[in-house]
């Protein structure tokens, strides 16, 4: 996180705000609601309170403006700059301006007012831009599920560095952005994907192309906005150029950037899992045999992609057929005749023909740390 140079801050905790004018894009109460929620993300994690006033000069004045609006920072028409806000201080200090040339929404369409306002109010309180891509104070607008707008730990650390901890008995925490070279990095899921490797953690993917030495970290929603975060398993069926994503007893199918229509579907109907199976831990598909392996708790199933049904005599115990990798799997993919199993911070390189682990690696060995 970054604090605005000179550490400008409000000397009081109980701040006021006013809404000077309203965008015609939304109903008045939708604007009121979005602004109230946007302040609440900050009051939930700090000792600050925000009260809307309609008489007198508020600390933070909110307005919607076109182009040049006499503050030396003209807006630039649709897209580009969406809004800006001023650091704490009298008069224009703390004020937040929104570009009326944008289309302001209250749902997933561009641009969600709640999402942009929550960011701008960070500036109103003295925060600068953070280089943490998972932080609300990251400068670029990233699509996000409007029901999922939350401060990251980086944002919480920033605001508490200025105003101290929250008055809540239990200190609030936020999600952190996975760091590719973090030795404690673990994965929710992993898959190959058109020649690349993709690893999934909370809201994020870590993407490793053979042509890049470093991993790219970004939001899953950047590629697949309708996918949930917290993906639990993923596997590619290269022959069909699809990837299946699993969470709970549901799964989605994507091809490139498209989530195929009709999904999510239920794993029991399509794959024939018994009702006792309510989540998939990991999965991979063997493109040579056309078999897909699903790992659930200490057992695994084998599904025939051609016949579209589970093979007989399954499930079987993981330890029987994949000795050395432990009894449970977090994530798995197959690559060049080896299977890579991930469990916690460990990765097991498994040779299926000889049924043996040939190497135990760190979970982030693919990222050239």
């Amino acid at each position: 996180f970054a604090i605005t140079e000179g550490n400008p801050k409000w000397e009081k905790k109980d701040l006021t705000y006013s809404i000077e004018n309203y965008t015609p894009d939304l109903a008045k109460e939708d604007v009121d609601n979005a602004i109230r929620k946007a302040f609440k993300v900050w009051s939930d994690v700090s000792p600050l309170t925000f009260t809307k006033i309609s008489q007198g000069e508020a600390d933070i004045k909110i307005s919607f403006n076109y182009g040049d609006h006499n503050d030396n920072s003209p807006f630039d028409g649709p897209n580009g700059i969406l809004a800006h806000a001023f650091q704490p201080g009298p008069h224009i200090g703390g004020d937040a301006h929104f570009d009326e040339d944008e289309n302001w929404t209250k749902d997933h369409r561009n641009y969600n007012l709640y999402r942009v306002a929550a960011h701008e109010f960070g500036h109103s309180l003295g925060l600068g831009h953070s280089s943490d891509i998972g932080a609300l104070m990251f400068p670029s607008y990233a699509f996000s599920d409007p029901n999922d707008i939350q401060l990251s730990q980086d944002d919480i650390d920033g605001i508490q560095a200025i105003y101290g901890p929250s008055d809540n008995v239990i200190q609030p925490t936020g999600p952190t952005t996975p760091q590719a070279c973090d030795r404690k990095l673990t994965f929710d899921a992993a898959t190959t994907f058109r020649g690349e490797k993709m690893f999934f953690k909370d809201r994020f993917y870590l993407r490793k192309s053979p042509y890049d030495s470093e991993a790219e970290v970004n939001f899953i929603s950047l590629f697949w906005p309708s996918l949930p975060h917290g993906i639990e398993a993923a596997h590619e069926v290269a022959e069909k150029d699809i990837v299946r994503f699993f969470k709970g007893n549901k799964y989605w199918v994507i091809r490139g950037l498209d989530v195929l229509p009709g999904y999510p579907k239920n794993i029991h109907n399509t794959f024939g899992f018994p009702k006792t199976v309510q989540k998939i831990d990991a999965a991979f598909s063997d493109e040579y045999t056309g078999k897909t392996y699903f790992f659930v708790q200490n057992k695994y199933w084998r599904y025939d992609e051609q016949r579209r049904s589970m093979d007989a005599d399954f499930p079987k115990l993981i330890t029987n057929d994949f000795p050395g990798i432990g009894s449970k799997v977090d994530a798995v993919f197959s690559d060049n005749e080896f299977i890579y199993f991930f469990r916690g911070t460990r990765q097991y390189k498994f040779e299926p023909q000889k049924k043996r682990v040939v190497a135990v690696l760190k979970s982030n060995s693919w990222f050239n740390c």
Partner: protein, 80 residues
């Protein structure tokens, strides 16, 4: 002219405008194209690429331009 020459010039304009607005690039009227690789621009571009976790090349590559074209907040990334 081949279209990509125009696009090239547009991209350079985007880079200059972005660095002036968000990375305190002072160009005093000097245009990027004339001073290809001029140090202030390259340094500011590297700072922007580092901030966004991009490959620090000092060149307006595709990934950098993609980020510069994303909608964003009008507050500068570095203090002015």
């Amino acid at each position: 002219f081949p279209a990509h020459l125009e696009t090239k010039q547009q991209d350079l304009e985007i880079v200059q405008n972005y660095l002036e607005k968000f990375y305190d690039l002072k160009t005093e009227g000097v245009r990027i194209a004339k001073k290809k690789g001029s140090s202030p621009v390259v340094e500011k571009l590297k700072k922007m690429q580092k901030f966004f976790g991009l490959k620090v090349t000092g060149k307006p590559d595709d990934e950098t331009l993609k980020v510069m074209k994303q909608p964003r907040c009008g507050v500068p990334d570095v203090s002015q």
